[in-house]
Amino acid sequence: MNSTEQLLSINNLHTGFRIKDTYFDAVDGVSISLKRNEILAIVGESGCGKSTLATSIIGLHDHNKTRVEGEIIYKGINLAKLDEEKFNKVRGEEIGMIFQDPLSALNPLMRIGHQIEEGLAFHTKMTKEQRDKRVLELLTQVGISNPARIAKQFPHQLSGGMRQRVIIAIAISCKPNIIIADEPTTALDVTIQAQILDLLKDLQAETGAGIVLITHDLGVVAEVADRVAVMYAGQIIEEATVEGLFTNPLHPYTRSLFNSIPQMNSENEKLQVIQGIVPSLINLPRTGCRFSTRIPWISEGMHEENPTMHEVSPGHLVRCTCWQHFHFESEEGGITR
């Protein structure tokens, strides 16, 4: 098992939603790859397309309303073009998913053990006894101390942290090569969040899976990720190693985001505010630098006409050239609209 083996490579992916016979791309030309043993974090604010990217990878879109174009190459197969029947073999067995809200991801009428067993019954040839044994193993693996009792319980009898552990157990039940975690800790308290993140990291070290971690919390990214991609308005605008991004953020959007965190070591300072709002999918200008409207003090000429990703240093990619000229508007007049 080679540690730098490329697991997944996404090339120029477009995922569009249909509104009155027109498709609007929520994911607009995303290219990224995932290696074995790596946690790739995708960061962005709500509506930037990060969850759409995740659901595109695992094929959870309604094909009548969505258009997925481009390549999602996994083991030589293009998942974007795979039909539903074949996808069922991939989903769960090759790619596992951890959802944000553990309560709505679990069936309230099924016992925990049965829900974990479901994937095993579908994807493996295990006998009932083997499956039961595996369920207990999995529950132990995700740090549940009395698996036999929990397996017989229903979701509502568990706490939020326990439910998220069960979701993780389901996701790893068939030993997938890729785990997609869509905001796995957003619904949890900080102490539980720390436990779940540590658990994810430990599990990854054990299984060597690649994890795509979708989050909006830069603190979580700093704690667990190896590589980070920052998304804005459907595009990746910066990609770097976690150290690279946090010590040397380049794109104006990334820099603004960092300045708007109420940091633990800052007091009484004004937080950086990004002017304007995220453009909606329908009104999004599809040409030019998409961030330009929110940094109007940077003149037009500083942006590229068709921004592309530039490799600034090995492994550190930035979209558009505006970062070279960017400075914060020093006098921010209070509240911006």
């Binding site: 604010e45 709500s46 308290d189 969040q193 603190g219 946090f246 509240i335």
Partner: protein
């Protein structure tokens, strides 16, 4: 000088059951909370979900029944008169809710939403009312044409600002902000926090800031109380809590916050596990046999920690 004191506030919910649906047990949501509010200061209430922090806020403003304890507002006992029209309490204490979306009536226009407290408490002529609404919208940085729109036409940050405009309409003395930014994105959150700080300075407001986000609380609050199972485990100035935490629960909470710095994360993980082990080992020094938090003990003029009688401070 504090203008408002809360003494030994308790909120219990009865659990009914048995033959005649009698009260068989009770949930101690808030169990003896004492707070004082000074003008222009921000107070933080931090804890995990279910610790009773929201119930505390709601009972102060009068949305929950108080089991025992008292609220003294400007020398008057208002415990049983919180929603009464007679006192100014009702007008001077306002609230900002967590979910801006569900706290605004979807069938009312923005101008009617903001005007509601004005119509209730201030006798203004229609012209004056209009001027006041425009003024409030300007304070929260919104256009005048927003007046005629409905809540669904705004983004999350804007809705939260409408909620704030409504809260400050009658020049309140204390605003209870129950997780005002936890539903917002980072850049919008910054906007709302900056803005809350601005109006605090401008109007000399006090805040009771309820949040689970210790970063936000540290940014906003002068005085912070950590809550666990309805009781305060530690209470102190910002400096006391962040640089000199005494209670193991506070230490555990602080160690669990992700740091926005990837360097040294392995050490932080080790430290976290250590604190967690320490928490399990020293549990009985900080909680009595029933798992209840001890009463607060004074460490310094600002710093209070809940510890057993045998512990002699400074661990």
């Amino acid at each position: 000088m504090s203008f408002m004191q809360i003494n030994d506030l308790k909120v219990y919910y009865p659990i009914r059951g048995g033959f005649f649906n009698t009260v068989v047990d009770q949930v101690t949501a808030v169990d003896g909370v004492t707070l004082e509010f000074e003008k222009g200061k921000a107070y933080g209430l931090v804890g995990e979900s279910g610790c009773g922090k929201s119930t505390t806020g709601k009972s102060i403003i009068g949305l929950e029944k108080i089991t025992s304890g008292s609220i003294i507002y400007e020398g008057q006992n208002v415990t049983h008169n919180r929603r009464g029209r007679g006192s100014s309490y009702n007008r001077d204490i306002q609230m900002i809710f967590q979910d801006a979306n569900s706290s605004l009536n979807p069938r009312k226009r923005v101008q009617d939403i903001i005007a509601e407290p004005i119509r209730n408490f201030l006798k203004l002529s229609p012209d004056e009312e209009k001027r006041k609404i425009n003024e409030l919208l300007a304070i929260v940085g919104m256009n005048e044409d927003a007046k005629l729109k409905y809540p669904h036409e705004f983004s999350g940050g804007q809705k939260q600002r409408i909620g704030i405009a409504r809260a400050i309409a009658c020049n309140p003395k204390l605003i209870i902000a129950d997780e005002p930014v936890s539903a917002l994105d980072l850049s919008v959150q910054a906007q709302v926090l900056n803005f809350m700080k601005d109006i605090q300075q401008e109007f000399g407001l006090s805040y009771l800031f309820i949040s689970h986000d210790l970063g936000v609380v540290k940014h906003m609050c002068d005085h912070i109380s950590i809550m666990y199972k309805g009781r305060f485990v530690e209470s102190g100035s910002r400096k006391d809590i962040y640089t000199n935490p005494q209670h193991i629960y506070t230490k555990r909470l602080l160690s669990a916050i992700p740091d926005v710095n990837p360097i040294g994360r392995e050490e932080r993980k080790k430290e976290r596990i250590e604190v967690e082990a320490n928490y399990a080992a020293n549990h009985k020094n900080y909680y009595d046999e029933t798992g209840k938090v001890y009463d607060l003990k004074k460490l310094s003029t600002t710093h209070f920690v809940a510890m057993s009688a045998h512990e002699k401070g400074g661990i």
